[in-house]
């Protein structure tokens, strides 16, 4: 890994419970906690029901009463977004986990085995990585038909090659590290060296990358839904909200733009946290 400079001395720091946390990190943490709460107990954040129909109040623009407005059935969009968190985060987490499992298996096999096996895996991974992830996902959907499970698998498979590439790179990187040779020079056997040094050090940056990846997965999943290829509309999964709102873009912009904004904010928060973690880990390693 290249040695990354420590965060600039000029970066503004605030004291937050004696932890030195940047304001952007604090905001990201709040967003992530909010989403977690919405996932676990949505009824704590709103007292409306996501399915309560109000035919007298359809297509209302955002107001104090309905911060995100209402849809064609008069349902409160804000409430629907909160209740959609569980399904969206489920897909995001599941897809990232699936991608990681595939990636770690392929990456470690390739990185440790070397030779022919490495060449084959690397070739396959490079080809699929270079390939547009959306197309890969669409191929999966066209085979399996749209559903939540399909969406999860599609996003997972679509993002796996990128991670696999990184895991392999990381394994090769750590393999060359002087402390690996130093451990061998002390007389540790190959398995001890892998278990004690190689595996934990190669996995270290992946924690940060996974955090980053969850945000990306949510965005990917919503892109599929936006095309009408994700979870079908009655659901309030975020992508499904986008799909449902498309018809009304020209008249009721909030149905499309506000759920989209929520997705972006969540993705940004995840990215920002992931980056912070990355800096922390690299800072400790360099």
């Amino acid at each position: 890994m290249t040695v990354s400079p420590l965060p600039t001395a000029g970066a503004r720091l605030v004291r937050l419970d004696r932890l030195r946390i940047r304001p952007s990190t604090a905001v990201s943490l709040i967003v992530v906690l909010w989403v977690l709460l919405a996932t676990i107990a949505p009824d704590l954040l709103t007292n409306r029901s996501p399915t309560a129909i109000d035919l007298g109040g359809t297509m209302q623009a955002p107001s104090w009463n309905h911060p995100f407005g209402t849809d064609q059935a008069g349902r409160d969009l804000f409430t629907r977004v909160i209740y959609g968190a569980r399904q969206s985060m489920g897909i995001g987490l599941g897809a990232t986990a699936l991608a990681m499992v595939i990636a770690v298996l392929l990456g470690f096999t390739a990185g440790l085995a070397g030779g022919f096996l490495d060449a084959v895996i690397t070739r396959v991974v490079e080809v699929t990585f270079a390939f547009p992830a959306l197309l890969l996902a669409l191929l999966v959907i066209s085979v399996r038909g749209p559903s939540q499970a399909t969406e999860l698998i599609a996003v997972g498979i679509g993002s796996a090659p990128g991670y696999a590439r990184m895991v392999r790179g990381q394994v090769l990187n750590v393999r060359q590290a002087a402390y690996i040779e130093a451990a061998a020079a002390l007389g540790h056997n190959r398995w001890t060296v892998i278990r004690q040094h190689l595996f934990p050090n190669a996995m270290r940056p992946l924690v940060a990358v996974m955090t980053l990846g969850i945000g990306q997965s949510v965005v990917w999943a919503s892109s599929l839904s936006f095309l009408g290829l994700g979870v079908p509309p009655p659901s309030s999964e975020w992508g499904a909200l986008l799909d449902a709102g498309r018809e009304y873009i020209t008249t009721s912009w909030w149905l499309e733009i506000l759920p989209g904004l929520v997705i972006i904010v969540v993705a940004l928060a995840a990215t920002s946290l992931g980056r912070t973690l990355q800096h922390k880990l690299e800072g400790a390693a360099s």
Binding site: V127, F131, P132, L134, L139, S223, I249, W253, E256, I257
Partner: protein, 298 residues
């Protein structure tokens, strides 16, 4: 790469749940039922499902070499015909967006990297924000703001120049953010390199050093990533074409996925794979032009 993609798409066609002929009849008629062998026979014959798998595979690959991508399940036309006319608008859109994104990214980084803290922060925040915007959201916002609220551009794009502006911006803005982030990181590193100091000690101005020395080094990672970026652009183009109802392979593709017309999807996947190989060759050429160290190697 193309052969790998072809094998992958062939495999995808096999993986359709259940018997392919049955699935096909269901797709075509919109019914869910068991078909008799007699009813399935003509389908099996038309698409060659009755032959052994290796023969099918070789036949499929052989067809690819002759430029035959198979027959659409739904339209009963060769896939090449279905895709053919739609390629040009997509190509124009993606290449246009790539060029625009590069110009934006380079301009913003050169102007804002390592300036006063406020200016640098502005540049990097802009990049971080735009890089994480999904295409669909950018597209919708642009559509609502510049076509609905301020009717400057047509809502239904079409493929003329005026209608291309918003789709192009939809694709270019997030990509510019992404390329900008990569270039910014690199430019920051490069500006700390001793050769930059050397150039300054010769009496070169800061701006001249950026343009004549540092930029050339700083664009290298972004060039490498441009091959990958083209993939992201194709993904984005599919979405953008849908938002602006713009002709292109994106429209065909989404319809095909919805009707589970696997040969058409596979055909598009293969066309993109070919485009991809060409794009990566171009990237290698561009890289070698900028970085002479790689010439004569490999």
């Amino acid at each position: 790469m193309v052969i790998a993609a072809a094998s992958l798409t062939f495999l995808a066609q096999l993986l359709m749940p259940g018997d392919r002929a049955t699935a096909l009849m269901n797709v075509q008629t919109g019914q869910q039922k068991r078909w008799t062998a007699a009813e399935l026979a003509p389908v099996n014959k038309e698409f060659g499902f009755d032959r052994p798998l290796p023969v099918q595979y070789l036949h499929y690959l052989g067809g690819l070499f002759r430029g035959d991508l198979g027959t659409s399940y739904t339209q009963h036309r060769p896939v090449t015909q279905v895709i053919g006319g739609q390629l040009a608008p997509t190509l124009i859109l993606t290449l246009g967006a790539l060029v625009t994104a590069w110009v934006l990214a380079v301009a913003i980084t050169v102007l804002t990297v390592k300036r006063t803290r406020a200016v640098s922060a502005l540049g990097s925040t802009w990049e971080a924000l735009t890089a994480s915007l999904p295409n669909y959201w950018v597209g919708v916002v642009l559509l609502v703001v510049f076509a609905v609220k301020l009717p400057l551009f047509p809502v239904i794009g079409g493929s003329n120049a005026w209608g291309t502006v918003l789709p192009l911006a939809t694709l270019a803005i997030p990509l510019a953010g992404f390329l900008g982030q990569v270039t910014r990181d690199e430019l920051e590193k490069v500006l700390d390199q001793p050769f930059v100091t050397t150039a300054r000690t010769r009496g070169m101005s800061d701006t001249a050093v950026r343009l004549r020395h540092a930029l050339r080094h700083a664009v290298l990672p972004a060039i490498t990533l441009s091959g990958w970026a083209l993939g992201a652009l194709v993904s984005g183009a599919i979405i953008t074409e849908n938002i602006f109802a713009r002709p292109g392979i994106g429209q065909v593709l989404v319809t095909a996925v919805n009707t589970r017309d696997v040969p058409t999807v596979s055909g598009i996947v293969l066309v993109v794979a070919v485009a991809y190989v060409v794009a990566n060759l171009l990237v290698d050429v561009a890289y070698a032009l900028v970085d002479p160290r790689l010439r004569g190697r490999s």
